[in-house]
Symmetry: D2
């Protein structure tokens, strides 16, 4: 889940909606696995220059510290993730969101065959960034590949190239459909999201309707008044069963949200002319 | 899951059957919760005078240490449990099995209203045992109440009295159906099991068919030859879809298994004349 | 460590002073044990009605989450503790600070012989509070005994009676010097501290010199300008080697700090006429 | 600590000697850090084809599971390690011993400047082994470099080349003394040990005196009778203050122990003609 808007309490974002992220751990209805219990993480922008992270391998639903902290964090820019491991160890350094400078990154899905081409993918990452990689997941390597391709300057282009490269590598290693992904990434001011899979059957990704319209649709829902005009959510599953509140990202699409602006556009992987 | 019989590798007990206990964490089909992810524990009899315990709050399915250890434990008497907390903290001291001397105890279910009468129940426990209580669960308190009523001499009678006491306490505090339970307990030679609920709708509990009969029913299943003649399982769900292999404990029943003997009999809570 | 004063970043309190609390984990020079590695906890007043807690069994010095969170917590009222277990399990529910309503409590030391008289001590706790006890430590039981004796109305009197009761119980069970303690407790506005041991050889406890005087003593130390006029610390060891900055609590003493007021006075255990 | 000889209980190896490994966590007198609290691991040969591992990030001295398991493991070939992190995350995948096939590896010390040349070192590792690397430590990378240079065929030669390569890389990156190491590695039949540092001031490493001689020296020590004739220990600190029981590995030396044979010889890093 990603939130952008006026400062709110993280506990309201995590625990109040009818189908909150923490419920998602147990009842991930549209997700690929039945539970998401291999750790969780939250990232938010507050004091200081870089976003803060609280990540843990305890399943999100029984972590007392998470509940305590969420009630104390008031922020206008918030990422939350619950993890289902696709093979790499369950450890804090393999939990999302991943951070580099002011950027956060979350990825649901997998790079199939990663174990077989991991070395080549790692070699494609900018040597100056290599030492910053903390964990062993495909998701983190994917993030660093996108950074290598210029995520900080042109997120759309960087992810297009990163996905193109992953698909090339995967197919060289006999993987027919190399990637499954929904991605959310942010620099603390804008949030980008991506929905794509090589097979054309991507996991779900939703964004919330613009607030003015939503309040007009549902004057009876008082909670909407507590959210500011710029409030936006991007989630893998709708947070609440409220008609008209959620719109699905189309297959092979990407988008960006910032105060006063939101857009969705097609997403096509790009084969880079040279690797680096 | 409880096993009694010739020594086998714990990894065969946990990971080989089609519907092993570890799968049970994720797909607990007949259990009350959809997942059992609040910790696990195994207990077994090997070196020394008392059984050994390996318990952890990590969900059973992603614990690398469990897989490593299970491949090294060869034992003829084995208990395994995955926990779904009914409110008390998720911590190692609240994981089952609980141990006292040579005895192990596992309980699935709950003592409803426990938080409200906990003090009275704790006061009913033998003062000499009070200091041995490590955790804060209803299940452990229930164990110590049974020990107080003579579990080590007469398990059937002790559990009948403990349940009677819990039902009295619960009803005094306005709880209509105070207890839901399946219990397995052992002294390293015999295993006792109990299935009962105040409401008369008890969670499931199964025992395995006697081995001679089972091998005759299914000559095609080679794995049965690896189990000795005295092999017996008591589980909350069948380990394997094999017709005739599993028999359900009736409502309000109890039983015992030891080499060469197995029985099932009715279970009726007993009101003690005096508390202590 | 306890801090009261203008809001500051928790990371400045934990990580900036020369001899910070986190260093204390490794180099607890005056403490009874050489390391304090059995968990840590912080408590602070911020959003909402009750203080928040972040507690963990990981040693404080390698907890990445603690560093992240501390950089985001800005508070005027802060408790921090690193634990050296005196026998009870290392688990989050046994970490300090303990919380009840708006109150926090930390205790360094031990109730010797606790395991032998635990039942009697637990029975002396107000039945209405009994169910709130989460862990199994002597320190938490001590807190609830003080609450029973009216901590929320008269902290000095409540702790005097609680200590008196513990000493009586201990001596009945053959313990010559039943208690060793430094205690800090707060309701979010005032902080009380206690230094006492039955043997008359109490662990160390210090409070910081009043800020005006300290700035006059050390005009060369710029960091002092960042602390407001009402800033006060109570710590088990001096945070910084700065002459005149720290004053030791005398043997058998207690004190209170609130904005504009600080006092230290003698502490004498009181035998209650009746237990409850 | 490494042990080779007749099968003994792991709890005797860990907890009985006067200065056991677990005490070493707290009082590591000759080690570089005052405590070794960033996790522990044990490896042993028992059932099956590969050694088993039990590793955890909990400090060794308060891990209840370790005590339970150690009392159940009877083995003739045992490795135990307590970790002091030199910068990489504290997580199970960064705990020693590391395992590859039948081989175990433990390393005390550091590859200084590792973060700066990590990419080049990883690229020097055999591509077929790259995907097996689980963690992010210099110690594990060092192991895989030694495997690349033929550890499984010629341990002495492989480690000589690996160290030579690390020293070259380090000096290219401006590190004057690139490596500090004591290493123990085994295939389940022989144990190799290495003591070396670029600076010529290596951490301590000891081996135990041959048993016949030791029993003759100390007929009064009954515990020696419990150890078989082939019993050998290699430890970073002497397990017990017993004169004549421990001999120090010289600076820049290596050795091997197998039933009936033990030797120590000089160790000199070797510059490989080509990297791969």
């Amino acid at each position: 889940m990603a939130y952008s808007g006026d400062p709110v309490l993280a506990s309201d974002l995590l625990f109040r909606p009818v189908h909150s992220l923490i419920d998602q751990s147990l009842h991930s209805r549209m997700g690929a696995t039945t539970t998401n219990g291999d750790g969780f993480g939250i990232g938010w922008y507050g004091e200081g220059d870089v976003p803060a992270l609280f990540k843990s391998v305890d399943p999100a639903w029984n972590d007392a510290n998470l509940r305590e902290l969420a009630s104390q964090i008031r922020t206008g820019h918030f990422f939350a993730h619950v993890r289902a491991s696709t093979g790499t160890p369950v450890q804090r350094s393999n939990c999302h969101p991943f951070r580099h400078g002011r950027w956060l990154w979350m990825h649901n899905g997998a790079l199939f065959g990663f174990h077989d081409y991991k070395r080549e993918l790692m070699m494609a990452i900018d040597p100056a960034l290599f030492g910053d990689i903390e964990g062993s997941t495909d998701s983190e390597a994917f993030f660093y590949l996108a950074l290598t391709y210029g995520l900080e300057e042109d997120p759309y282009g960087a992810v297009e190239q990163a996905v193109g490269m992953v698909e090339d590598l995967g197919r060289e290693h006999g993987v027919e459909h190399p990637i499954q992904m929904t991605v959310a990434t942010t620099d603390g001011e804008s949030m980008w999201a991506f929905r794509y899979s090589s097979e054309g059957k991507s996991r779900s990704l939703f964004f919330s309707t613009e607030m003015h319209r939503l309040r007009a649709l549902h004057p009876e829902v008082k909670a909407l008044a507590e959210l500011g005009d710029d409030a936006r959510f991007i989630t893998s599953e709708p947070l609440r069963d409220l008609s008209g509140a959620w719109q699905e990202f189309p297959e092979s699409s990407a988008g960006v949200v910032r105060p006063g602006h939101a857009e969705v556009r097609p997403f096509t992987p790009r084969r880079a002319a040279t690797v680096l």
